[in-house]
Symmetry: C2
Amino acid sequence: MSGEAAFIGALRALATHPAARGLVDDAAVIEIGGEALVLTHDMMVEGVHFLPGQDPEDVAWKLVARNLSDLAAKGAQPIGVLLGFMLGEDDRRFVEGLGQVLGEYGVPLLGGDTSSGGPPRAHGLTAVGRASHKPVPSRAGARPGDTLWLTGAPGAAMLGFEALRDGSGADSAAYRRPRPRLAEGQALAPLASAMMDVSDGLLLDAWRLAGASEISLAIDSRAVPIAAPESRRLDALRWGDDYELLFTLPPGTEPPVSATHIGMVEPRGFAQLFLDGEPLVNSEGLGWQHGGP
Amino acid sequence: MSGEAAFIGALRALATHPAARGLVDDAAVIEIGGEALVLTHDMMVEGVHFLPGQDPEDVAWKLVARNLSDLAAKGAQPIGVLLGFMLGEDDRRFVEGLGQVLGEYGVPLLGGDTSSGGPPRAHGLTAVGRASHKPVPSRAGARPGDTLWLTGAPGAAMLGFEALRDGSGADSAAYRRPRPRLAEGQALAPLASAMMDVSDGLLLDAWRLAGASEISLAIDSRAVPIAAPESRRLDALRWGDDYELLFTLPPGTEPPVSATHIGMVEPRGFAQLFLDGEPLVNSEGLGWQHGGP
């Protein structure tokens, strides 16, 4: 067995509890004491999710923001985070960045673990939140006739990454310090038929939403606002790290937040994703595959 | 800044929520919907917490068992776990070991993340549980006059580690497959004035309990049952990985589980730990310090 897909397939047999949502959602949802608790865990590995030598303040920010974005996709209010941290050279700056992002979103550090080891260093973060609305949105609720929407404009993180990589001096904040759409997620939770965050690229994540909902999504690429030159449009649709929200609404419902209508939900057809009418028959090349080569 | 102690000191400023218990407890405790939820996160890093080449089945078992032991120390019933996993060569065996330990304790996998990267590989696990009794035991409740108790006999994991390291063929299960004291923790939670699990060595963990409770502990070393030859008694008291429960009981209370009376709680004196009447004035050499030299 090799690769993430095979491994996750094997794990799925252990994830039989309904709270696990078959491991096809952004987060687990536990019902406890009449409340719905939302739990997510994301890792960041040196050389995979961040550049060796990247400012630890930014690594801390992104580690927290990635996880809060998963809570946003569930419409959850953050309760706190647990940190798994590998000690290194410039840990004071990591703590400073951690304090900045936790302060920005009013989220306390609840606990965790530290270890020596590496390079590469690997950090993990678990975020815990309280659902603001039940049922908690999932990726699986989109129905034919629903409309497909996206907050923000993909491409900014791509340009930010390239600026950082190339040392061009252009603004890289969108890549280094993404802003999870917590307020938008909470406003959308009572309305959205399906919702997820776009962490691995719009097309790949749309593919996943379509798979979970067992429908087809038809995206009009020209409707998507992008934060990159027009010549980079297709790149922007495939690049991750923007942490926008992708969601569907029942017919006739308008979103209560700033968002763009980018497509439609259709009955499951020949392909689960259509881009400008062209069927995309597999997910290769649509975005960032974690386990990847 | 270097080392775990300095880093945790800096983190403590971010852990202001009461649920974090000042980062001096085994787990965080969140009150939600009238229930108390217990959360813990522990990492295992190749070359630090497990031997390169060690059977991934055993790594998976221990990763889960370490975290369930933290739940045991809170008297919590496990609800589920989230896994942060770095993909490698023999992941099928990891999944098999994960299935064994989750099956043994009836705990579902709820979610998590996978990544490429390494070696060294670093895995993290978050365990979530529901407190069986409130208030939830902490390390901070021991009072002068209480009695000090220990489940089981330390030293078995030490001998198991040495057998595995040396390839002697002797039994190494205590090191490879520790058994969290979940039932004992739940039986003790209504009675114990303070409780923790012994993950880093009896003396070091007793030092920590004394620090959190602001008392002194007096341990009678000969009263401690050890699972090692008498000549290794002091080693056994310093070795971690046994995952027994260390707890205090109010005067006159007998434990409802199998355990040994190994000492007394005294008012904070000259040192926070006394071993056979000798004061131990700092924690150097008392056990396993994660961040290492």
